[in-house]
């Protein structure tokens, strides 16, 4: 019984974190209709940023969040304007952007390996204190609590952004109908660029806390995280950022159950889940043109 309670509670916390892992990918997909195949690599960049700031200056991961936000807004704008407007005019934006972001992911990985070496990095979870906390008689490290709260805050912020700001309204307008948003005078490129930056920022924040939930960070961790993120956002329904929470929770609980009861098969789960859901879920939940013929 104890094992079951532990599995469920850990799964929920794990799941909220994985909601954050997928969130950035889903925002970018929702607004731009492009799959950021370098998503996992931006998570890795966030993790490396946090590691070096902690290692060199002893900066607490929580304080890295504002720094990461600034950095990824500065990276995101030029990236967006360099590629996306040009791709949107091309013959097949969906496929070409997919391949382009794949190239970007290779570049990021190579640059990080050349700069910092192909090593594993980690931040000890004791930065949040050595004591643990307990829920329903189960005890967990403090770092888990901090991670869960940060991920939860991220969802509140994105909800507030979409529902209570002008930019958020504009973003939702573009998500529901690009042409009509354009006609009503919304500057699509500016709003999309901000959404793109937000996507990168949330990815990097997930990276900062990845040490406590998924372990050490290493330069080639990106592609696996991208696949997992994709499974999560498909679960929670593509193009609906808040649906990502549901996807993350389902994924987190499922992974915890697999790890507890069928551990040798746990690593196959995200892939099977992804395929099954893509094939079985009806067309409506995918948005348009996910499936045809």
């Amino acid at each position: 019984m104890d094992l079951l309670a532990y599995t469920i509670i850990a799964g929920i916390m794990y799941g909220i974190f994985f909601g954050l892992v997928g969130l950035g990918l889903n925002i970018i997909f929702g607004v731009m209709r492009m799959i950021n195949l370098a998503h996992g690599d931006f998570i890795m960049l966030g993790a490396f940023l946090a590691f070096w700031l902690f290692y060199l200056f002893g900066i607490n991961p929580l304080l890295v969040i504002p720094i990461a936000t600034t950095v990824f807004f500065l990276i995101g704008f030029p990236l967006y304007y360099a590629f996306v407007p040009r791709l949107s005019k091309s013959s097949d934006p969906e496929m070409l952007s997919f391949i382009l972001f794949f190239g970007l992911s290779q570049v990021i990985e190579a640059v990080i390996i050349l700069a910092f070496g192909n090593n594993q990095r980690s931040i000890p979870s004791t930065v949040f204190g050595t004591s643990s906390f307990s829920i329903l008689g189960q005890s967990f490290p403090k770092a888990w609590l901090a991670t869960t709260l940060v991920a939860f805050a991220a969802f509140i912020i994105i909800y507030w952004y979409f529902r209570h700001t002008r930019l958020g309204y504009a973003t939702r307008a573009i998500m529901s109908n690009r042409e009509e948003a354009l006609i009503s005078g919304i500057d699509i490129d500016r709003v999309s660029a901000i959404a793109f930056c937000l996507g990168l920022v949330f990815a990097s924040v997930a990276g900062i806390f990845s040490y406590f939930m998924i372990g050490a960070a290493y330069p080639s961790m990106g592609p696996d995280l991208t696949t997992v993120s994709f499974a999560i956002i498909v679960l929670g329904s593509l193009g609906s950022p808040l649906g990502t929470v549901i996807g993350g929770l389902l994924y987190g609980v499922a992974v915890m159950f697999m790890q507890t009861y069928f551990s040798s098969w746990a690593n196959i789960l995200p892939y099977i889940l992804l395929i099954v859901i893509m094939l079985l879920k009806p067309e409506g939940l995918f948005g348009k043109a996910a499936r045809s013929a």
Binding site: I99, L104, E109, N118, W265, I268, L279, A293
Partner: protein
């Protein structure tokens, strides 16, 4: 009548000539073998990507299925490696048939689902619970049947087969109907093309080529691990080679592989990151400025590219 085949057959004879004579002057057999393997894989990927537009990110899944299919047949049935290679190709086709439903997904969704399928297959093969069949993560040892020269020439045979397949598709109604489906599915169906059947055949042919490559690779290498034959870089390299050369032609993938794989061997082996950086940038430049590859420059100069 045969004249329309001259330039393509010429390209194929040049390739055969190169790989039959080169071993006498250049004794890095493993490099030449890998070059042929990537040439054949590039043509195999070309069958599905160049002619139907489905981008198989998990192409390595077929390669691994071929390698393991052949190895298991050799270990348990003790048949000749030549037959085992055929079994490897068939194993890949079986995986392809299991993955038929993925063809209902379009564009990037197909690519990701296919990637997930290859990873799932990898974790299945590498799972310690299946050690009795696949040796799990501990790898395969075929050193009892190892024969470098025989497997070298068999790879050449597979390469010629893959080129002939693409030639067939370039010159017949079958290839034309695939291109029609790629352009406009609805119109193609109205013109009387059986979409599901046509693209399924292309998918199986593409899987078969990758399976044969994997099987011959297993024989040539003799000792390997699941992580060797399910290495995602096999998909990635092949896709980059095809993109760089230009898909949908015979010569495009050949050019892409010859140029880039040679470069990989000069700059990539010692520090693969430099090559990774290079091809990452290359992919981005290609997508933005040259989406139809190097052959599109030749075509622009009105040179007929087979």
């Amino acid at each position: 009548m045969l004249s329309k085949y001259y330039s393509s057959l010429g390209a194929i004879f040049v390739i055969i000539f190169i790989f039959v004579t080169l071993p006498f002057v250049y004794n890095n057999q493993s490099f030449l073998f890998n070059m042929m393997m990537y040439l054949a894989l590039a043509e195999g990927l070309n069958i599905i990507y160049g002619f139907t537009g489905y981008l198989p990110f998990g192409y390595v899944g077929f390669f691994g299925a071929g390698a393991y299919g052949a190895s298991i047949v050799i270990m348990f049935l003790r048949i000749s490696p030549f037959l085992a290679v055929l079994a490897g190709g068939i194993a890949a086709v079986i995986i392809g048939i299991i993955l038929f439903p993925l063809l209902r997904l379009s564009g990037a969704y197909f690519a990701i689902a296919n990637l997930a399928a290859s990873q799932a297959l990898y974790y299945l093969v590498a799972n310690p619970n299946l050690q009795k069949i696949t040796q799990g993560p501990y790898g395969i040892d075929l050193s009892s049947v190892y024969n470098a020269n025989a497997s070298y020439y068999l790879m050449l045979g597979v390469l010629v087969f893959s080129m002939l397949l693409v030639l067939y598709m370039r010159k017949t109604d079958f290839g034309l109907s695939l291109l029609a489906i790629k352009e406009d599915r609805v119109t193609a169906a109205l013109a009387g093309i059986n979409i599901v059947k046509t693209r399924s055949i292309a998918w199986m042919l593409s899987a078969f080529v990758a399976g044969l490559c994997g099987a011959v690779f297993a024989w040539f290498t003799a000792v390997f691990y699941p992580s060797t034959v399910f290495n995602l870089n096999v998909s990635v390299f092949t896709i980059v080679f095809v993109l760089f050369g230009g898909m949908g032609t015979i010569v495009g993938p050949l050019l892409g592989t010859l140029i880039l794989y040679s470069m990989y061997n000069f700059i990539g082996i010692s520090t693969p990151e430099y090559f990774q950086l290079f091809y990452g940038l290359l992919i981005m430049i290609l997508v933005l400025f040259l989406p139809n590859g190097v052959v599109s420059i030749l075509q622009h100069w009105r040179i007929d590219v087979p």
